[in-house]
Each structure stands twice: as C-alpha cells, then as structure tokens.
C-alpha cells in the first residue's frame, strides 16, 4: 500500500467520523419518528415494542412449557405410567 493510498483512506475515515460526531441528526434511521404528532409517536413506539418483544415472549413461553412438560413426564415416569 502506498503512502498516498493510506492517506486517502485515513482522510475518508476522518471525514466519516466527523460526520458522525457533528451531524448526527442526518443519521436518524426513522423518517417519521420526529415529525409526527404525539399520538402517532405513541402508536409507533407501542407497535415497535410489541413486535420486538413478542418473539422473545413466545420463545420463552414455549421453552418454559416444554421444560415443564419434560419435568412432569420425568416425574410420572419415575412414579409409574402417567395418564396425561
């Protein structure tokens, strides 16, 4: 790598860092979150929370249920055949 190429890469990195530090408002990812009415913001926030957390809740609930069934199954197997 030549010195000139290295300088060019460094200056590009420096420019990117400067943009991140001094112009963060252009980096917001949500195009509607900051120009909406309060009820719209509430709706966006509520649905974002719902859709983000629900997969974890579902996965956790299913894992918990499987563990409970497995424990119950193991207990029943040691006590004799289970009915359900």
């Amino acid at each position: 790598m030549s010195l000139r190429n290295g300088n060019s890469r460094f200056s590009r990195l420096l420019m990117a860092a400067a943009l991140v530090v001094w112009a963060p408002e252009t980096a917001w990812g949500c195009p509607v979150c900051f120009a909406a009415e309060q009820r719209q913001l509430t709706a966006y926030f509520a649905t974002a929370v719902l859709l983000s957390l629900l997969p974890f809740v579902l996965a956790g609930a299913i894992t918990w249920w499987i563990r409970r069934e497995a424990r119950r199954s193991a207990t029943n197997a040691s006590d004799g055949p289970a009915l359900c």
Binding site: A43, T47, L50, L51, L58, A77, A82, C84
Partner: protein, 197 residues
C-alpha cells in the same frame, strides 16, 4: 392406555410431548406474530388518520351484539377446558369428554354464524373492504380471525369424533384444543382494539 403412554415415555430422549402439539405450538407462535403485525398496522393507520375515528359516514360496528358473541366464544373455551380437565382426571367416560368438546365446537360455530350475520348487515349498510381503511381493517382483522375460528372448529370436530380412551391423550386432540384456546384468547384483544377504541 397406560401401556401406550409408558411406551411413548420410555423412548430415550423423549420429552413426552407429542409432535402434533409441538408443531401446533410453533404454528401458533407464527400466528401470534401475524396477528401482532395486523394489530400494529391497524394502530399506526388509525393514529395517522386525520379526523374522527371511525370516519363519519361509515356504519357503526355492532358493539353490543359482538360483546354477547364474545361471551359465547369465551364460554366455548371454558367448556373445552372442562373437557380437558375431565379427560385428565379421568372423570366419567370418554363420552363426557367428547360431548363437552362437541359443545365447545358448537358454541364456536354459533360465534362464527353470528359474526357472519353481522357482516352481512354491515355490507348492506355500505361498509366494504373498499370503503376505506376502516372497512378494510375491520374485514381483514376480524375476517382473519373468523378463518382461524372455522379451521379450529373443523380441527376440534375431527379430533372429537376420533376420541377414544387412547386418543384423548393423543397429540391431535391436544393440538386441536391448543388451536381453539388461541382463537378464543386472541379474540378479546381484537374486540377491544377494533370495536371499542
């Protein structure tokens, strides 16, 4: 019956969970996400709506009739829960479990029927899929739930008709029950969001 259960449980590494039940759980997890997506879209569109919601000039939804219908659906869930309890506790015969399961399916059918009658009335009043976001979301969300209710009723009827002393503990009956509990459980949320807010 006991020997059947013992055979299943004696398999090494077997958790005692039928494949049908596990498959139904995963299916219901995806369905929960699907309904969450519909609800989210509805909430965002409603929040962005300029003016009153429901929009003026659109027919009002039958809140009271649907409230009674919701009670019918909840009752069907309770009846099915009683059937499951009877099966688990081995109270009475399989006939009692089958009768309760069929009663739950019948109450579910009443729910779908009343919904259908109300939709016909709303269509006659001019609320259609194309009459705006209000009608679109109403038929999309409530219609999707109704499709699930019909599928769950068919599954429950099929599983109930196949009930015998062994099948009551089989995966298919338990999976059908889970499906129906999901249909019953998701409806109050949809009712509050679509009809009451």
């Amino acid at each position: 019956m006991a020997s059947v259960v013992a055979t299943v449980q004696d398999r090494p590494g077997n958790l005692g969970i039928p494949n049908a039940v596990l498959g139904m759980l995963l299916f219901l997890a995806t369905e929960a996400m699907f309904f969450a997506g519909l609800i989210s879209a509805f909430l965002v569109v409603k929040a962005r709506w300029i003016g009153a919601w429901p929009p003026p000039g659109q027919p009002r939804l039958p809140v009271e009739v649907t409230a009674v219908n919701t009670l019918v659906l909840l009752a069907s869930g309770a009846v099915l829960w009683m059937a499951a309890r009877a099966a688990r506790a081995q109270q009475g015969s399989m006939e009692r479990v089958r009768r309760l399961s069929l009663l739950a399916a019948a109450l579910g059918a009443v729910f779908v029927l009343v919904q259908g009658v109300e939709w016909a009335r709303l269509l006659a009043y001019g609320l259609t899929m194309r009459s705006g976001p209000y009608g679109s979301f109403f038929y999309l969300i409530v219609g999707t739930h109704a499709a699930h209710a019909v599928a769950a009723i068919v599954a429950l009827l099929w599983a109930s008709m196949r009930l015998d002393s062994r099948a009551v503990f089989s995966g298919s009956y338990r999976a059908a029950r889970l499906f129906w509990y999901f249909v019953v459980g998701v409806w109050p949320v949809l009712y509050v969001l679509v009809y009451l807010t």
